[in-house]
């Protein structure tokens, strides 16, 4: 490896701080903030590299952007780099969310706070439905997509079956239905 290449590598501390900066700004999803920081501001990835890494992160189990942060950490500083990047993504947000839950817990005696929490939870539920609709854009006219959606929705939301069972059936079925196993 030549020296220029070496100099451009991020250290463990760089990686921790980079993903910390991304995670603490991420209200309502990490993706837009990761995109802005990694591509536009820090120029660590190109648009194409970002899309490719995200796509792989989505195919793997686990949170997409965290999968991507682990891979970026590993590329720069090996396993310790991956650990630093992932820690940057989760440690401070976990402390913030528990502090918030504790703070809310001290005021739940008030009727208006309980009403507020109820309204907030209802809005969060509505947000999930709106998100599902937006995510579904590429498959809204695909009978395969709609069939898999209907089966999984019925199994999970209506029949309340264990997810592991549902995925064990639905993943192979959907992959086959979409022609993933067909020879190229």
């Amino acid at each position: 490896m030549d020296e220029v290449e070496q100099a451009k590598r991020l250290t463990r501390l760089d990686l921790f701080l980079l993903f910390l900066v991304i995670s603490v700004q991420s209200f309502g999803g990490t993706l837009p903030f990761a995109r802005r920081e990694l591509i536009e501001r820090r120029r660590i990835l190109t648009e194409g590299e970002f899309a490719e890494m995200l796509a792989l992160g989505q195919v793997l189990p686990g949170p997409n952007v965290i999968n991507m942060s682990a891979a970026i950490g590993d590329r720069n500083a090996g396993w310790p780099g991956a650990a630093a990047a992932v820690a940057g993504m989760v440690v401070v947000p976990v402390l913030i969310v528990m502090a918030l839950a504790t703070a809310v817990g001290t005021v739940t005696g008030f009727a208006s706070v309980q009403g507020g929490l109820l309204g907030m939870a209802a809005a969060a539920a509505g947000l999930l439905l709106g998100t599902a609709w937006r995510m579904a854009k590429p498959m809204r006219t695909s009978w395969r997509g709609i069939a898999v959606f209907a089966a999984v929705f019925a199994a999970v939301a209506l029949l309340r079956l264990p997810l592991v069972l549902v995925l064990a059936c639905a993943i192979p079925a959907s992959l086959a239905l979409h022609g993933v196993f067909r020879r190229a």
Binding site: G115, M120, A125, S174
Partner: protein
């Protein structure tokens, strides 16, 4: 408490391996395990914690930390369990991710990656929609809940309104309803 923390970590680890297309996909399963199977919290409490998790910055996976925190009953033990749950959720999947990025993942042909994503998309969409329905039902499906949830669903489906703004709007509507 140690046994409970280990239980929460095991649950988190199992859930992480089922997170196809992102952490949000496991919300219905978190609900099933935390409310139905283990009785760590009531349906309404789950919905409250989910809302709080959405009001904090960070990845969507924050509900896992609050699951651990609530299961152990808040306080100091809750903080440890919350952090442990999150590390169990992201640790093993990050190891898989690093190994996969180093070797086989980059060798899947781009055309096959497109097909795999198309095949996984309806699953993720169904799990996100199921989360929305389960949380609405867990709130007792009162008229206020239905009204706020549908209004937010419509707004977020057709506009680019910031999620935080919509959640704050819901909180204000809910608080106002108790005053009038």
């Amino acid at each position: 408490m140690i046994a409970l923390t280990l239980h929460v970590m095991a649950v988190s680890l199992g859930l992480s391996l089922l997170a196809v297309g992102g952490a949000i996909a496991v919300v219905p399963e978190v609900y099933r395990i935390a409310v139905d199977v283990n009785g760590w919290m009531s349906p309404q409490r789950f919905a409250e914690l989910y809302a709080i998790s959405q009001f904090a910055p960070g990845p969507n996976a924050m509900i896992l930390a609050l699951m651990g925190w609530e299961a152990v009953g808040g306080a100091a033990g809750g903080w440890v369990a919350g952090m442990a749950a999150m590390l169990a959720f992201v640790g093993p999947t990050s190891v898989i991710s690093v190994l996969a990025f180093r070797s086989w993942a980059a060798r899947i042909s781009p055309s096959r990656q497109v097909l795999i994503r198309a095949a996984l998309l309806p699953l993720s969409v169904a799990l996100v929609a199921s989360s929305g329905v389960l949380i609405t039902l867990s709130l007792g499906a009162a008229p206020l809940v239905i009204a706020v949830a549908s209004l937010v669903a419509l707004t977020s489906a057709v506009t680019n309104a910031h999620p935080l703004l919509l959640i704050a709007g819901g909180a204000i509507a809910g608080a106002a309803a108790t005053v009038f």
